[in-house]
Symmetry: C2
């Protein structure tokens, strides 16, 4: 049976991307070699990473003085390494408390420097704060900044769950990072976009280990060490796919369309209730509850029998979560909506 | 034309492993889903990581109190995070200077704690040293510890280039790490084997960020954050392959056999000279020079025309390097030997 995969990440990518990735793993461009068995410094792989970097720059019209880095692992590491790169231990940063991932950012940063927490309504920021950390989309809570806040200091954004599916006003930012496994590839690689103006010239009082310094990777075009080459290749394939499908503008339009479809059903269907306040609803992750424990159990079984995968909510939140990143076809969202409708019809 | 891939890493894996990896990326176990689009916490992926961990334990008969971790990125990160996990900034460690990767380890560790350097002959180690860092195989210099040194303190070993292709006397070690892309998978994941006895109970004076603490990952079976799932799956496939092909014992026997073949030819052929002292020669990477600049240029062209890939030496070393990790078939080594013989015959 065809699966409709609403997993929060690692997440669905288009079948053509998985097929191209698989083909490259067996025999890359008819070279007789796998993309996985060649050096990260080989001409063939240099083409991969250079094209991927160029595509990020092109798709987002990234300002020319910004650097684009590919770093191993996920965005979680950046929650620690971002402050280590941008500020000193006696500096203060601010974090807007929006949910699970801003908590994680608080924990990571406060082990290194002073952190002031604020909430999205007040946005009170101390004079001395060097930057404001925002989680552009809170995957677990289903909440999103639809417009990034206007403050006097630069923003640092964890954009793992909505990178490439929304516009970015770069003039507001010092740093943006996103791991690939939601919107532009498989897990194992993180794309870091940094305005070098915000990286101090003089070394920090407690410098980050060289391997975690952005400067190290800026100086070597992310090739300081052996990169996760297959994850980078998967990102290139997704970036090409996004370009071929209308770029960020169209990804954004599609994301809004998919979100509108699912939220309309959540609001209309007597068995379900949306989790997030309407004005904050995420276009990447729609979180909703069944209106009783029985409905939750029954709907999960009903949906899974119909080939819907990965809609269980985060353990601490419960309910359901439909993640709809760039690789999610609108037809699958339509199918989920119909499934909710049929569930309610058969229960009557 | 068939390629014989002697790349130093990312390196050759058996065709059956690449094919199984590609198949899993398109449709994992006929689930209708890619292994790349499911959660690292899904039952299907839990089976993958649990079996991979079990296989490392089984293949090496890892002592039961040791922990086996899967961490994102490469071994380079561990050069910084190992001392951060094992000692305090005012502690001293020792490093045996064997070549390029022990230099890297020195640079990384000395940014964090006191580091005493010694050479492999003297092995003078200060009383206060907490551990001795050894690079079991120096990939770039083609040098290997055939027997690990007997010292009074535990060893920490970077085994990226000979993990799973040689026995390990675990009683000598506190920590062993190896990134996958040479002997057991694609790049993006590192396997860390740690004896928890050597991890201090009380927090370090300057604790490592939580995401870089081994304890964090020990407490959550490496699932604290989103793992590079496809790299872990590639490791499982390679571990199964190693088990099916006689385990570490046979990988070790094959490695010695492959090395004997190539070194015999290097020593017999009037056009080439081995780089490493004979008694230190690596069974993983055979480094050799052509006996004149012309021979080097001509042999590279000759070999590449015959489908030999990736034998150029490291830029700072020059010459040639034939890397022969677990995935390297003996037939390819035989083919390289024949190529060297034919080169010399046609040049006469």
């Amino acid at each position: 049976m065809q699966q409709h995969n609403f997993s929060p990440g690692p997440a669905i990518l288009p079948p053509s991307v998985f097929q191209a990735l698989a083909a490259g793993i067996v025999n890359y461009h008819d070279s007789g070699l796998s993309i996985a068995e060649i050096s990260h410094r080989s001409p063939a792989f240099l083409e991969v990473i250079e094209e991927a970097t160029r595509l990020v720059r092109e798709l987002y019209q990234v300002p020319s003085h910004w650097e684009i880095l590919w770093l191993p692992g996920g965005a979680s590491s950046q929650l620690s390494t971002a402050p280590m790169n941008l500020v000193n231990p006696d500096d203060t940063i601010a974090i807007v408390n929006t949910g699970y991932w801003s908590e994680k950012a608080y924990d990571a940063a406060s082990a290194y420097c002073h952190v002031h927490r604020t909430d999205p309504k007040r946005l009170d920021i101390p004079e001395e704060a060097k930057y404001l950390h925002v989680v552009s989309n809170e995957t677990i809570d289903g909440i999103q900044w639809h417009t990034f806040p206007d403050v006097k200091i630069p923003l640092v954004a964890d954009m793992t769950s909505d990178f490439l599916s929304r516009p970015i006003p770069f003039e507001k930012f010092a740093l943006i990072f996103a791991s690939a496994q939601k919107n532009f590839g498989i897990s194992g690689i993180t794309c870091v976009l940094v305005n070098p103006t915000y990286i101090p010239d003089s070394p920090n009082k407690i410098p980050a280990p060289k391997i975690f310094q952005y400067k190290t990777h800026m100086a070597e075009q992310s090739l300081y060490h052996t990169l996760p080459t297959v994850p980078v290749y998967s990102s290139l394939l997704m970036l090409r796919w996004i370009k071929a499908h209308g770029g960020v503008e169209n990804m954004y339009a599609l994301a809004k369309q998919k979100a509108a479809m699912i939220y309309q059903e959540i609001d209309a269907n007597p068995n379900f209730t949306g989790l997030a306040p309407i004005e904050k609803r995420s276009i990447a992750n729609a979180c909703f509850y069944g209106n009783s424990p029985e409905i939750e159990t029954q709907f999960l079984t009903f949906a899974e029998k119909r080939g819907i995968y990965g809609i269980k909510g985060f353990p601490t939140i419960g309910g359901f979560r439909a993640s709809m990143y760039t690789g999610m076809p609108i037809e699958s969202v339509q199918y989920l909506v119909e499934t909710m409708q049929q569930f309610t019809a058969q229960a009557l």
